[in-house]
């Protein structure tokens, strides 16, 4: 079946998919040889340098949601929509000092779950794991869906087939190479994404009349260039909180903090955040041109690829295809690795089988990567909604973890009860806001409720934490060395 809106032939689409897929799997196998033990597989030997550190923070954070949702934000919320998406970079910037502190406090740590367990105890740890695994899975689904949508929109490849192919490639190379493969491919993917966005962006700027676009917006959709669009301004703060919540709690970012060489983490996150800042604007503005070009938008998250292909023809479509494939792969691989680490370390090794040796853990980790891929595939098969619907449902949950994490890292007196209540109350009230008020309020309200709970609890419960407790002996690497 060939879709009327597809610009690339299905043949070229499959060719690109095969070429990029083979490249990533080959690189995964190549870099995977470095992973001699579990620490190598999970944390790339804890010795990642600045260049790879910056590239992996950027590439992982440039998801298909950036390259497809930023245009959707621009289409629905106008100029402020693009800026709202850009605020997600603040999460990376604010995580920079945390990355340094995490590395210093937990030189042998493996996951964000390790921190919550050691810092707040089991009840908060269980709630945190539920939130974190749900979020990781939601993010995976949103990207699996994006993969299918992209293949169909650009090359007419049926949704289910495209989605299956992308998941298969990402699962394969993550399975072979662990974090070595993930970080190594992230560097190449970030370069392809940046060059692609710049080429497509300047191409569209030079081939379209910006004055005509502005005149069209002024006459037909003035709200999109309104400096005081209330929903969009609300979306800025909501996205800011969502972004901070996503980064502060997620093992994707904690595993990188553990993986980077001592002294690198803070710089890498600062540069990564700064470098990421303009990407949603560079990728999102093309949607504003959609109306003046007379493009019929059947699904808002397809606006970016459609405009690029309409203006730049087959070349534009090929570049967008490569950019989106890299955006997808760089995030799916990170999520597969980080979520598998979380389940292996926090659930299997700590709860189910504490006596498991390194060989056993490696097998379990591989099984979980495959299992996550299969589960994501099953959920993605029926397309459940637009990308924003899927992604923002997790917003209030992750926003509730911001204060427990930040205060837990810096305050001896941050209480375990406060962290637990903050996550439960923040998530619950945030979800009520999601359904009653709108997605663009949910993360903001969740973070506010969690903040009040954590701060009040600090006064009510007199905890006094000993930082030494976070420095847990590294049993896995000792086993690997013996």
């Amino acid at each position: 079946m060939f879709d009327q809106t597809a610009i690339l032939s299905t043949y070229i689409g499959w060719l690109l998919l095969a070429a990029l897929g083979i490249l990533w799997i080959w690189l995964g196998r190549y870099w995977g040889k470095k992973a001699k033990n579990m620490e190598g597989f999970m944390l790339a030997g804890r010795n990642v340098g600045l260049a790879l550190g910056v590239a992996t923070t950027m590439a992982t954070w440039i998801t298909s949601n950036t390259t497809m949702l930023a245009p959707q934000f621009a289409l629905e919320l106008g100029v402020w929509g693009m800026f709202a998406y850009s605020t997600a970079s603040f999460g990376l910037l604010l995580f920079a000092p945390l990355a340094k502190r995490i590395r210093n406090l937990m030189p042998n740590g493996y996951t964000s779950g390790d921190f919550i367990r050691l810092r707040y105890g089991r009840p908060a740890w269980v709630v945190f794991l539920l939130i974190s695994i749900f979020y990781g899975f939601t993010w995976l689904i949103s990207m699996g869906m994006a993969g299918g949508i992209l293949m169909y929109a650009l090359a007419g490849i049926p949704y289910a087939l495209g989605m299956t192919a992308i998941l298969f490639v990402c699962v394969s190379y993550t399975l072979f190479g662990g974090l070595f493969a993930v970080i190594g491919t992230d560097f190449i993917q970030s370069i392809i994404i940046l060059i692609g966005i710049v080429v497509v962006g300047f191409g569209i700027l030079s081939l379209t009349d910006f004055n005509a676009t502005y005149t069209y917006l002024e006459a037909d959709k003035p709200m999109l260039i309104n400096m005081l669009l209330p929903a969009a301004i609300m979306a800025i703060f909501n996205n800011l909180m969502f972004g901070i919540g996503e980064i502060f709690h997620s093992n994707v970012w904690w595993s990188r903090a553990f993986a980077m060489r001592k002294g690198v983490g803070k710089k890498a996150y600062l540069l990564g955040g700064l470098f990421w800042l303009p990407i949603p604007i560079a990728a999102g503005f093309i949607a504003l041109a959609g109306g003046s070009l007379g493009i019929n938008v059947t699904s808002p998250d397809m606006i970016g690829p459609l405009v690029a292909a309409h203006v730049l023809g087959e070349t534009g479509a090929i570049i967008v295809f490569a950019v989106l494939f890299c955006s997808l792969a760089s995030s799916i691989d990170s999520l597969l690795a980080a979520t598998a680490d979380l389940i292996t370390e926090d659930i299997y090794a700590k709860l189910i089988n504490p006596e498991a040796d390194e060989k056993r853990l490696r097998k379990i980790s591989a099984g979980i990567i495959v299992g996550l891929g299969v589960l994501t595939w099953l959920v993605c098969l029926p397309r459940v909604g637009t990308l924003a619907t899927v992604l923002f449902f997790a917003g209030p949950l992750v926003a509730s973890t911001i204060w427990p994490i930040a205060t837990g890292l810096y305050w001896k007196k941050a209480s375990a009860k406060g962290a637990l209540l903050g996550m439960i109350l923040g998530s619950t009230i945030g979800l009520i806001a999601y359904f009653q008020l709108g997605w663009y309020t949910a993360s903001l309200i969740s973070a506010a409720v969690s903040m009040i709970t954590v701060l009040v609890s600090r006064g009510l419960f007199k905890d006094d934490f000993n930082w030494e407790k976070l420095n847990e002996p590294d049993i896995k690497s000792m086993e690997g060395a013996s």
Binding site: N47, A51, I191, L194, R261, A282
Partner: protein, 42 residues
């Protein structure tokens, strides 16, 4: 009364974002070459 983003400002922000993204790609390549020279890639 609606206050609109001026056209020139909007165009400058967009062009600036694209230019900065291009510079970032160059910086990343510079950083990896530097790390490679110092044997600090991994």
């Amino acid at each position: 009364m609606m206050i609109k983003f001026p056209e020139l400002l909007l165009e400058l922000i967009i062009a600036g974002s694209l230019l900065f993204s291009g510079i970032v790609a160059v910086i990343l390549i510079y950083l990896i070459i530097k790390d490679k020279k110092n044997n600090e890639v991994w």
